[in-house]
């Protein structure tokens, strides 16, 4: 079912509620978004700088450590050379022992650093190998005279080899790690800058998208408001930002506009009443004249008239009085100040009443008015008075441009492709000049001159129709005539409307 559209009235304060709701939203302003983003960028920079310092200090340690291990390696390699010389040429074994002692000193002096970098296990195994090698060297020195060195040499070679290869491997690993760290230290700024660039781009795109989309929405709002839709704005975002403030300002403006529009509507209605009053006064003169003539003649001929004649004359007076009453009631219904009430209506009934109201204008203009209403029209939602105002206005506009003998045709049909009921008011007048066609719905635009038109008719009418969820536009205007079209959303089925009643 089509929900009835809401017509804000003068006393409506739903916009206030809307603004209150906006105020209650959690606040994430654009300014805050930017500030937070900058803070994040700053923190990122700090983190990168700190990590760079950290990398460099580790590198320093590693390089220092490499020097130590280099020295250590040189010492144990020397020790092994002297050991080999001793075995081959019988040179002094003390040199080997001396270098080994140096190596031990280096190891123990820097045990803390080495342990930290090598790890306890490797450090321990290294020292073990060295100790075992040392033991074997001492043994070798002891057994020199006995010549029982065959058992010692293989062990010596094994421990020595393991000691050297373990140290070499470690040094190699360490060099590799230093090289990797250096490489990383070289790349990090590059990665960082690229990352930062991407982040900034994403941020800028997000912000502009965000701004553009919201600005576009506000542009749409102004268009909507311009067309007379004064329902309050509900921003799409969940959070409060600068645009929420703008939306609040818009809602305040909309409320003011709505208020002014109601006054405009009222003044336009008064204008229409003014026009209709002339016609009604004219129309009233006929039954009044009939009553007056009859009363005068009754009085004049009271004694000569038969009872039947008298009764006929009295009946005439009664009927003409009732006729006057009907004429006055039509105008009163139209003029009566009443709250806007949206309810299901029969469009053909509204249009017929509007036509009856302007019947006298039609007569005075000596114009023919034809109607063509489709059968079984669906109902619509609307306010009786406002809708009558729209159709009275459209017909009077047509009469204003028609010469005697002109024709106005009011056609109502259901649009076959959509759920709209369409009312077309067609005249065969001279048409609206093309250069002003785009301006006719502007408020205060009139071609009739200040004395005759306010320039509000079409703009107010369009506003009324727009509020009811319908459309009003100029369908066609040429030298052969003009068609104004009003489309209103249909209530789904006539039976539904009947059941509502």
């Amino acid at each position: 079912m089509t929900p009835p559209p809401e017509l804000p009235t003068l006393t409506d304060d739903s916009e206030d509620d809307e603004n209150l709701k906006l105020k209650e939203r959690p606040s994430i302003s654009i300014r805050m978004t930017i500030a937070i983003s900058y803070a994040l960028f700053f923190l990122l920079c700090v983190a990168i700088t700190i990590s760079s310092f950290w990398t460099i200090s580790i590198l320093e340690d590693k390089i220092k450590f490499l020097e130590i291990t280099d020295n250590y390696l040189v010492e144990i390699q020397q020790a092994r050379r002297f050991e080999k010389n001793y075995l081959l040429y019988g040179t002094n074994l003390d040199d080997a022992l001396e270098h080994l002692t140096n190596a031990k000193k280096i190891l123990s002096a820097n045990s803390k650093t080495i342990k930290k970098i090598m790890g306890e296990k490797i450090f321990q195994s290294n020292s073990d190998y060295m100790q075992k090698y040392h033991d074997q060297l001492l043994k070798l020195g002891g057994e020199k005279k006995t010549g029982k060195i065959d058992d010692i040499v293989p062990l010596l070679r094994q421990y020595g080899g393991e000691m050297v290869s373990s140290a070499e491997e470690f040094v190699k690993k360490e060099r590799g790690s230093v090289a990797r760290m250096l490489m990383m230290a070289k790349r990090v700024p590059f990665y960082f800058i690229s990352g930062l660039l991407v982040l900034i781009m994403i941020f800028v795109i997000y912000l502009t998208q965000n701004l553009m989309v919201t600005l576009k929405r506000f542009m749409d709002y102004t268009k909507r408001i311009g067309e007379g839709d004064f329902s309050p704005i509900v921003p799409a975002k969940k959070f409060k930002d600068e645009f929420t403030k703008l939306a609040e300002a818009f809602n305040t403006m909309i409320r003011e506009l709505n208020h002014k529009h109601s006054i405009l509507l009222e003044s336009h209605k008064l204008r229409a009443i003014g026009t209709l009053v002339a016609g009604v006064a004219h129309e009233l003169n006929n039954p009044l004249n009939n009553t007056l003539l009859t009363a005068e003649m009754l009085k004049e001929d009271l004694t000569v008239l038969s009872d039947t004649e008298k009764i006929e004359m009295i009946d005439d007076m009664i009927n003409e009085t009732v006729r006057s009453q009907v004429i006055v009631k039509g105008l009163l219904d139209f003029a009566r100040e009443s709250e806007t009430t949206i309810k299901p209506l029969k469009i053909e009934k509204i249009v017929s009443e509007a036509i009856r109201l302007v019947a006298n204008q039609v007569k005075m203009a000596m114009v023919k008015l034809k109607t063509n209403f489709e059968d079984n029209l669906p109902g619509i939602y609307g306010d009786e008075q406002l809708l009558k105002q729209v159709f009275v206005n459209l017909i009077i506009n047509a009469l204003d441009v028609l010469p005697p003998g002109g024709e106005v045709c009011v056609d109502i049909h259901k649009n076959k492709n959509s759920d709209f009921v369409v009312v077309e008011v067609e005249d065969n007048g001279p048409g609206i000049p093309e250069h002003i066609q785009s301006r006719i719905f502007e408020p205060f635009f009139t071609t009739k001159g200040q004395s005759k038109g306010t320039g509000l008719g079409l703009s107010v009418s369009k506003g009324i129709i727009r509020k009811l969820g319908g459309y009003m536009h100029l369908k066609r205007s040429s030298e052969s005539g003009t068609i104004f079209m009003v489309s209103l959303p249909a209530i789904e089925s006539p039976s539904e409307m009947m059941s509502k009643k």
């Binding site: 006929n286 004249n289 009939n290 003539l293 003649m297 005439d316």
Partner: protein, 126 residues
């Protein structure tokens, strides 16, 4: 002294107007014919001219100004009195400029019209 009878035609699409004016105007001894449709009245006029024509200005098919023009074209001595439902200066000026004898605004009393007819008949007889 015997007065010559005047032939008066009343045209108004409100049938009560004719119904009431016929006896009212016949009291002076004049001959009164009433019509609700302009075309029928003109057709009758074509057969036989009338001295005075009282016509409503605004009717469905043919308006009083046109009736005025066509009657004066036929018989220029005929006095045409226009009934207006809503007296405006423009309508009165237009009617008078086109040769109407006078106009009377609705609502009026029979005596008001009788007075105008009396003036018209005076002019006719002079």
């Amino acid at each position: 002294m015997e007065e010559q009878k005047l032939k008066i035609m009343v045209i108004d699409d409100e049938n009560i107007v004719g119904k009431r004016l016929k006896p009212a105007l016949e009291k002076t001894g004049d001959i009164v014919e009433t019509f609700e449709e302009g075309e029928k009245a003109l057709a009758r006029f074509d057969k036989e001219p009338f001295d005075i024509v009282v016509t409503d200005i605004r009717m469905e098919k043919i308006n009083g100004i046109e009736i005025l023009e066509r009657i004066l074209a036929k018989s220029s001595r005929t006095k045409v009195i226009i009934i207006t439902g809503y007296a405006t200066v423009e309508v009165a000026r237009e009617a008078l400029s086109k040769g109407a004898f006078d106009f009377i605004a609705k609502p009026f009393k029979p005596d008001d019209l009788r007075a105008i007819i009396a003036r018209a008949s005076k002019e006719l007889k002079s």
